[in-house]
Symmetry: C2
C-alpha cells in the first residue's frame, strides 16, 4: 500500500523540501504561486517538482490537504476539552474564531476551509480528513444542543456554510463583528 520500493535518500529529502516550500509559498501567496517560485524556494529545479507530483493542482491539493489536518486537529482538541468539562458551545465558538484568524493569515488554510463548504472532496486525500472534522464537530454540536446553548436545528453543514463565508480578508474588528452577529442567531432562544 505504501511504496513498492523506498525512495532514494536524495529523493526523499527533496520531496520533503518541496512540501515545506510549497506549504510556505501557498500559505503566503495563495494557490496561484508559480511552480518556478515554489521550486526556487525549495532550492530545486522545476523539473523535480514534476518528478514528485504529476501536475500543479496535485501539488497544491497535497499542501491544502495537509493544512486541512490543522483544522481537524483543532476540532478534535475541542472535543477533548469538552469531554473534560468545557462547555461545548464555548468550544464551538472558539473553534470558529480561531479558524477565522488562521484563514486571515494562511491562504492555504483558507483554501481548505473553502473546500469544506464547496466541492466536499476536491481531492481523495481530503475525504478522510473531512470525516474527522465532521465527526468531531458533529459531536460538539449535538452536545451544545443538549446543553441548551445552541439552537436545535443547527447542523454540521450549517457550520461548513459559515466556514465557507468567513470574511477572512476583512480587518480583525470586522471579523469579530461578523462572528458576534452570527452567534446571536445561533444561541438557543
Amino acid at each position: 500500500m505504501t511504496s513498492p520500493r523506498p525512495l532514494r535518500a536524495d529523493a526523499a529529502r527533496n520531496r520533503a523540501r518541496i512540501m515545506t516550500a510549497a506549504h510556505e509559498q501557498i500559505t503566503e501567496h495563495g494557490p496561484e504561486v508559480s511552480m518556478e517560485q515554489i521550486a526556487a524556494a525549495a532550492g530545486v529545479a522545476v523539473g523535480t517538482l514534476y518528478k514528485h507530483f504529476p501536475n500543479k493542482s496535485d501539488l497544491v491539493a497535497s499542501v491544502v490537504a495537509a493544512s486541512f489536518e490543522t483544522l481537524a486537529d483543532d476540532a478534535e482538541e475541542c472535543l477533548q476539552r469538552e469531554s473534560q468539562g468545557s462547555p461545548a458551545m464555548a468550544e464551538l465558538t472558539g473553534f470558529l474564531s480561531r479558524v477565522m484568524d488562521t484563514v486571515a493569515h494562511n491562504r492555504a488554510v483558507k483554501a481548505a476551509a473553502y473546500a469544506l463548504g464547496a466541492d466536499h472532496a476536491a481531492h481523495p486525500a481530503m475525504q478522510e480528513v473531512e470525516t474527522r472534522v465532521t465527526q468531531a464537530l458533529g459531536r460538539l454540536i449535538r452536545t451544545a444542543q443538549a446543553q441548551g446553548g445552541l439552537r436545535a436545528d443547527f447542523t454540521v453543514d450549517d457550520l461548513y456554510l459559515m466556514l465557507y463565508t468567513l470574511p477572512a480578508d476583512q480587518p480583525p474588528t470586522a471579523r469579530a463583528r461578523w462572528l458576534a452577529l452570527l452567534l446571536t442567531g445561533l444561541t438557543a432562544r
Copy 2:
C-alpha cells in the same frame, strides 16, 4: 464636463456595443474574461476596446459600476415602498435575498457587491453609486430599528459585511438557510 466634441457616429455605436458585450460576458464569465472574447462578442477588433478604454481594468470597472446601479436602484425602491407603508425590516430582508439571488447568476453584480464590502471605492465611478446605496439602506435600517424589528446596534457597514460574505455560489437551499440563520441574529431581541 461631458465631451469637448461629440463622438463620431460609428464610434458611439461601437462604444455601446462594447459596453453591452462586456456586460454580458462579465455577467456570465466574471471579470477574468479576455479582452479578445469581449471584442469578439461585440463584433469589433481588440484595438477598438483600447480606443474607448485605456485598459482592461477600466473597462471592467465601468461594467461593474453599471451593475452596481442595479443594487442602488433596488435599494431606493425598497425605501420607496417603505415610505408607502411596507415594513422596513421586510424590505431589508427582501433586498438581501434578491441581491443574493442576483449575485448567484451575475458575476458582474457579484464583483459589485464584493467591492462594497472591500475597497470601498476601487473606482471613482463607484463612489457616487455607493453613496446612493448607503443612504437608502441607512434610512431603511434606522426605520427598521425605530419600528423595533431590527437590533439596535446594526449598521450599514454590518450590511456590507453581509453582502461581502454572501454564499453566492452555493445552491439555493444553502443560500436560503444562510439568510435564515443570519436573520435570527438580526431581529431585535
